[in-house]
């Protein structure tokens, strides 16, 4: 193999290799890196966060605009304190509702933000006041059975 042929093949190899890395960065991964530099923090308290995990997505209208950064328990009120890291380009009003949803029945758990009409926007570190906790299936079922039993009273059909 002479020199120029080797150089050519190595050049092709390196180019294709970098292309693969680029492919993975762009088409496969999301380039939304969201480290400390490009997002601001919002706090939210929940009674029950269900299966919410760290790095779970924060979505508005179904679009991923942030990640869950930290989850702690308030030792006095026994509420869950969740810190959300939201992309800088999106602002939310003070009366935004934060709820914990599941995508599909068995999908991943995420935080959904419903923007309100307030003209004042949330700033870095501020807290969302209106939150809706996760739906826990067991409670839903026992609620359903309870309602059903109450409805039936005497002489209920099975």
């Amino acid at each position: 193999m002479n020199r120029s042929a080797i150089d050519l093949w190595v050049g092709v190899f390196v180019a294709v290799g970098f292309g693969a890395i680029l492919f993975m960065a762009l088409k496969v991964g999301n380039l939304l890196t969201l480290d400390r530099a490009s997002g601001y923090r919002i706090e939210a308290n929940f009674d029950n966060i269900g299966g919410l995990k760290l790095r779970a997505p924060v979505k508005a209208a179904g679009v991923v605009i942030g990640r869950v950064e930290a989850v702690r328990l308030n030792p006095k009120t026994y509420e869950a304190l969740v810190t959300l890291r939201v992309d800088n380009q999106y602002s939310f009003s003070r009366d935004t509702i934060a709820s914990i949803n599941t995508s599909g029945l068995l999908g991943e758990v995420f935080v959904a933000l419903d923007a309100g009409g307030d003209s004042v926007m949330l700033k870095d570190g501020e807290r969302i006041t209106k939150t809706q906790s996760a739906v826990v299936i067991e409670k839903l079922i026992s609620q359903f059975l309870f309602d059903k039993a109450a409805e039936g009273g005497g002489g209920s059909k099975k």
Partner: protein, 270 residues
């Protein structure tokens, strides 16, 4: 205990102790070897043509096996993954499954294992043979340091090739997963790529995969050149060294993978 049994036990213990001290001193020698390579590297990188030649022999010539393996692994992942995900109604997550498995783990690890057996063993055999036929000694007597001229370029050729090969493995694997998932099985094209994009982060998934492949590249290249340089200058010596390269590289890759995965992907839970 009878004297025979006692003698047997002491003999065994002595051999075990000898093996352990031997391994440790070998490890020490290998570390000094790495430092020596780093010391002589500027020279090797100045004569870049040498390194390019080694990138060709280690990287380009491994492309066929890497790409084919990547493709097949991706396709099988897709097939097997689909069957399992379908049970939970989560078959649209196939894209994420394939992509994350490859980018985080299978890409770097499998590419590393394949690289060790194809390129690593070839490097060891080549250097061992040069030692046996006194080519390295001839170079020394001609006042040319074989570390700079022969060893370092091969080391860097391996280190440069590995991350590229791992990325290509993952990319072809994802493509294979796409072929089976979307074209063969019929999962929605948009869901496949969309879910994948949402679930795979450049940091930490892609970058950690690249870091892993870099670490594997350094480990495999070092083991390959070291075993070749240290081989006994006979035919069996070279063959033993070649086998050792493959075995030790594979073990090293798996061990390092575990350690790195623990540090990198500790999350998931809270």
């Amino acid at each position: 205990m009878s004297t025979d049994a006692l003698a047997g036990v002491t003999h065994f213990l002595r051999r075990l102790g000898g093996a352990v001290t031997g391994s440790i001193s070998r490890l020490g020698f290998a570390s000094r070897f790495l430092v020596a390579i780093a010391w002589h590297s500027p020279q090797a990188l100045r004569r870049f043509q040498l390194t390019i030649r080694e990138v060709y022999f280690a990287g380009v010539l491994s492309l066929v096996i890497i790409l084919m393996s990547g493709l097949f692994v991706g396709m099988v992942l897709s097939l097997q993954g689909y069957e399992t995900l379908k049970r939970y109604g989560a078959d649209e997550q196939l894209g994420i499954l394939v992509a994350l498995s490859l980018v985080r783990e299978l890409g770097p690890v499998m590419a590393g294992l394949l690289f060790a057996s194809r390129a690593g063993s070839a490097i060891t055999a080549e250097i061992g043979l040069m030692k046996t036929t006194e080519q390295l000694a001839a170079m020394e007597m001609m006042a040319v340091d074989p570390l700079a001229r022969v060893i370092a370029p091969r080391f860097w050729g391996g280190v440069i090739s590995m991350p590229l090969l791992a990325a290509l493995f993952s990319a072809f694997g994802i493509f294979g997963g796409y072929l089976v998932g979307v074209r063969l099985i019929g999962i929605d094209d948009g869901a496949f790529w969309g879910q994948m994009k949402a679930g795979v982060d450049v940091w930490p998934d892609v970058t950690n995969g690249i870091i892993k492949s870099l670490v594997f590249g350094i480990a495999v290249s070092l083991i390959a050149v070291f075993e070749g340089y240290d081989a006994k200058p006979t035919a069996e010596g070279v063959s033993t060294a070649t086998t050792r390269t493959v075995v030790i590289s594979s073990l090293a890759i798996l061990a390092l993978d575990f350690v790195m995965t623990v540090f990198m992907f500790r999350g998931g839970g809270q």
